[in-house]
Amino acid sequence: MSRARPILFASAFLVAAVATRIGWEGYQRLAGHEVTMSVVGIDPFELEHSHNSPLVFEDLFPPDTICPTPVGNKDRVLIFGGHWLSILPVRGAGALGDADEGHRWQGVDAWASGMDAKSTGRLAVMGTASCRPWANGIAIRTQIGIDQFHATEAEAIVIRAALRRVYGPPKTQAVLSIGLDGRARLLGLIVNGQRIDLRGWPRR
């Protein structure tokens, strides 16, 4: 029995689905709200070799802060159970003493649904957050569906140069677009004060 027609329909459907997804992502990227969040873990070695680097959304806070809910196992606690976070701009110096970093966003509450998260009037993003004690305070780690990024050869060179520019631990932030659907999309990085836009389509 000939399966020509189902094969052609399935292929056309897949191509259409992929094209639609690209269009949708582009729209969400353009229409989203731009925020910056602290990140760690950019690996220059990985960038050089595979052009991929891990990205961990972690913000360090000074000693006088404590984890919001001291429950959970081991040394990490989940802030709350939900899969939506409402985020707010956090002002002031981080634990690394980078006063110029000043304006960055951080998850403050977790909610079970997007509706709940948005009802607070704050910006809502899909993800979870956990808190752990750190030598000089606490570290809040946010998981918003981005755990790595890909850079082109040219972008990788710029990022590596920016990482090398300052002696000591680099101050890195991610520039994100929080779409109307609540998903975070990576637009670029701010490495030691230098903004580097990553390839994406369409560009802002």
Partner: protein
């Protein structure tokens, strides 16, 4: 006496001929990987839209060729082209996720890929693509994050899985056999062996996780109760499948026992592949693991050759090819080098297949 000798020889050649579809299939997989690698190599130079158009074009061409082959009653050619189309789809999706920065989550990529390959498999009734789908589906489950979204994501695939299983059981019930180049491949055995491989693979993964070798977050072993329960269920199913196969009465018992050996050794090969890809090893570690891998594949090949077991041979060749591909990537070659290596291996396999086909024709000429 002479006639008997010729007959034996012809039978032996005939068995070797059964390996031809396997060789062609592996060659097509290598060609697909070469296509993906060559698209990847163009990414840096070409514009996003151009390279995306190229990957869509390759996918459309392979799928169109598969449809043409299906229309002209060439099921084996259609099946191989569908396998190639699946790989082209993977390349297209991979390109989309990088160039357009869409699938930022790895598990999302594999779920999308699994859904696409499932559609291709169902549309073409292709057993090879179905096996590919099973592989990708299992990988997508492994790549899920260790949080409560695990079940949400699994239930996303559940309707597809149920639909597919009903289809498979229906085919097994009707004892449907697939016919490739006059070779009858038993659907039931193929599915059982494939499932067994992946279930064993799952157990190896589970044990590794619990020994702390691999943590799903890269640091800690998971403390998810659901994963333990699922592992127990998978272990029970594996035992059941193994027992069912032992109790199966077949005219050729040693083939069945060989199939179990293939299952376990094949799974070990896949586990090695996983370990290599997850944990970056030093040179000594890579060489040791590669050596074990090659030794294992050689044992598989020997057993398959001795027992004249086509599926075993398929796993052995796949193991050789995977160690070859891992070596190509591990050597840190440029993309062009990887493409050249894959194409050479592809041509080599095609050449061997054609030689066997030619010899088969000569041997089957009545003297």
């Amino acid at each position: 006496m002479v006639d008997q000798g010729i007959e034996d020889s012809a039978r032996a050649q005939g068995w070797l001929g059964e390996a031809v579809p396997v060789l062609f299939l592996v060659a097509s997989v290598l060609l697909g990987l070469a296509i993906a690698a060559s698209i990847a190599s163009c990414w840096m130079g070409a514009s996003d839209l151009l390279s995306f158009g190229l990957s869509v074009g390759v996918f459309a061409a392979t799928a169109g060729a598969a449809a043409w082959a299906s229309k002209h009653q060439k099921p084996f050619v259609s099946d191989i082209l569908l396998a190639l189309a699946s790989l082209s789809f993977a390349a297209m999706l991979g390109h989309m996720s990088q160039a357009f920065d869409v699938a930022e989550d790895r598990s999302g990529f594999f779920l999308a890929l699994a859904t696409g390959v499932f559609l291709i498999a169902v549309s073409g009734s292709s057993i090879i693509t179905t096996i590919s789908w099973l592989i990708i589906f299992i990988i997508s489950i492994f790549s899920l994050k260790n949080d409560n979204l695990w079940l949400n994501k699994f239930t996303y695939m559940l309707p597809l899985l149920i639909f597919y299983m009903i289809n498979i059981f229906n085919k097994i019930k009707n004892n449907l056999k697939f016919n490739y180049l006059d070779i009858k491949i038993d659907m039931k055995k193929t599915i059982l062996i494939t499932c067994d491989n992946f279930l064993c693979f799952y157990i190896i993964f589970f044990v590794s996780v619990n020994l702390g070798v691999i943590g799903t977050d890269g640091v800690n072993p998971p403390d998810d109760f659901v994963s333990y329960i699922c592992s127990l269920i998978f272990m029970s199913i594996t035992l059941y499948v193994g027992l069912a196969r032992f109790s199966e009465r077949d005219s050729n018992e040693h083939q069945l026992s060989a199939a179990i050996v293939f299952g376990w050794l094949g799974s070990l090969s896949l586990a090695c592949l996983l370990l290599i890809s997850i944990q970056p090893l030093d040179l000594v570690g890579t060489l040791t693991l590669g050596g074990v891998w090659i030794a294992e594949a050689s044992i598989l090949f020997y057993i398959a050759f001795k027992t004249r077991h086509t599926i075993g041979l398929c796993i052995a060749i796949a193991a050789f090819v995977s160690v070859f591909c891992a070596g190509l990537v591990g050597l840190g070659l440029a993309w062009s080098g990887v493409v050249a290596g894959l194409l050479i291996a592809c041509l080599l396999l095609l050449g061997v297949g054609l030689v066997i086909l030619r010899r088969n024709k000569i041997m089957s000429v009545p003297l």
